[in-house]
Symmetry: C2
Subunit: 403 residues, 2 copies
Amino acid sequence: MTEEIVQFGYAAEGRAPFSLAEYERRLGLVRRAMDEKGIDILFVEDPSNMAWLTGYDGWSFYVHQGVLVFHDADPMWWGRQMDANGAVRTVWMAGAHITHYSDAFVQSTERHPMQHLAGLLHDLGYGARRIGVEMENYYFSAKAYVTLRDALPEAHLVDATALVNWQRTVKSDEELDFMRRAASISERMIDGVLERIEPGLPKNELVADLYRDALAGNGDWGDYPAIVPLLPSGKDASASHLTWDGRPFESGEATFFEISGCYRRYHAPFCRTIFLGEPPDYMRTAEAALIEGIEAGLWAAKAGNRACDIANALAAPLERAGIRRGARCGYPVGLSYPPDWGERTISLREEDDTVLEEGMTFHFMPGLWMENWGLEITESILIREEGPAETLCNRPRKLYVKS
Amino acid sequence: MTEEIVQFGYAAEGRAPFSLAEYERRLGLVRRAMDEKGIDILFVEDPSNMAWLTGYDGWSFYVHQGVLVFHDADPMWWGRQMDANGAVRTVWMAGAHITHYSDAFVQSTERHPMQHLAGLLHDLGYGARRIGVEMENYYFSAKAYVTLRDALPEAHLVDATALVNWQRTVKSDEELDFMRRAASISERMIDGVLERIEPGLPKNELVADLYRDALAGNGDWGDYPAIVPLLPSGKDASASHLTWDGRPFESGEATFFEISGCYRRYHAPFCRTIFLGEPPDYMRTAEAALIEGIEAGLWAAKAGNRACDIANALAAPLERAGIRRGARCGYPVGLSYPPDWGERTISLREEDDTVLEEGMTFHFMPGLWMENWGLEITESILIREEGPAETLCNRPRKLYVKS
């Protein structure tokens, strides 16, 4: 069907990183979820979902692009003309499944790429069908929604937010292999930080070496992480998402380093906090409670338990130490593009009773952001049949101290 | 007004990078544009616009956040509770202008942050007013729009896409100072690439050093660029947005390096192509036409001319050499967050007749992505009263060759 209607003559090279069987497995899961929601065709704009389904890889998600998932044909890549050459080089599908819109649609005030997509959907016979779209996503804008809706008045746009993301929660062995490689890079990054940090060293110089380690890799080549390193110090560590500047590290301050190695878009986020000098008692007290909480959480993190069980196990020792966090303590991780390395499905928090399954992976992330200081010790974890969960990185779980 | 209604007791530290006069200038421009569209209050979710208006800086744009612009009061930062501490540290407004929603709204299937924002807008007296929203933006999702619309049935949501972006086109002297610092880092990055590249060197190792240079900076500390380095080689250079992998550079291939230094979120994108070995004649021919086109474009790039004049000046020599690009050849640049370092307003293309003004800055970007090879030679430029435009980076404008 699709071959007849759209044919640009692309000759795909098929360099996608996983086996065809793996992509078939993923498609099967997604089609079943589409069935459950009565979706005839799914438009996936999330770049992580695009890559997970097709292998597509490129920094082109700042313009509209996506993957169409059919029930009865291979997926179709759709994007900007100049990026179709990138699709040729990265997706597993045949060239006939690569389609494009012209550059005149790009960031234009007169035309919108969704008008082109509407035409394509109409030509493919879906103009009056149930079309799934990712309503809550960075890349499917409000304008994209309104334009597509107006251009296809007979279609029914169905909210398919996170439909694909939910299929990504349990990792295959091929994916776990990638995540272990990423974790090895994360370990190397944190080792390098501990070795280099000292009072007086400008933060940006440390980050320069940190990035060097991340990309040089550790036997495997390093890819860019979906979030840049976060490393606030002292009072700034009360803020969770500050990056860096040119000021020096100072004695008497703790800095947390929330980082992730990345191998072919797979992540293993990891955080350790380093105190330069002698930590105050209140930080030692918090450290002890946090480590006790993490260990309790790791034991609760097993197949059959629920997401909230991890959060509750963590909370108990913290509350005994007088610390109420009030924020979720983790989220699923795996394949990601900026701006988030989380998968945006499960949240490790009190109200989430999702049942954990073997092969799920999370960033177990109980950051403490207090009024005038912060402490983050985290683990990327793999859920197994029995507890404790496996930690993908293996480094001492403590507040690092350097005098 | 706002002080009475919202008061979390934050004590702002006021570390924003520009003078208060500069922020007042920006606010004045935005308020005038709001007036022209009859907008009573503007909700800005674009992180680049947020930073431009308030100084806010943090990697927190993966959750909903924004800035409310009033006609008669300082702007208000609104975001996730844990990020309010980051706002305290980065915005110029008083602490009473920092507001937050609780973590329970984050990536929840039951609650959406826009419900909280709707409550805030209602409490502030804007529940039935004309509220500007950025319909075409990475961070204001389709779901955000629908949720806000449904939660404020008496309000009129006005499309304010790029309203702030358009005020950013002409740069102040303070901004140009930042861009020149970024350009100096861009030069250092390209110098380092030329020095290090050689056949057999794995790409990721070169990128590791490239990032090191970008962040170590050049007298000034380096910030992360809004787009990662793009460096496809050989046939892959026919694709515009591929990143890197672990394969080695090879003799007989051209690689373009599209990069940007970044100083406090300001960019100066720059690209040079390097051929390892002896370039074929067709590439030399394209090089000559491209350089002639760029020079013609630089002369056309002056105040009073139009955006299309640059595109047309470029096109003529290329067409004489048999090359029709078909894509725009540039866009405004300045302050940016991922996923784009362009400002998404003007496009340097045939149909855009925006009149150029002194102080506008563009990435003049006439990439050639041919069927089996690519050639990119670009300049970040500053529009002046007379031509030619000033190039922010100063490096030989040619195809670099390394034997």
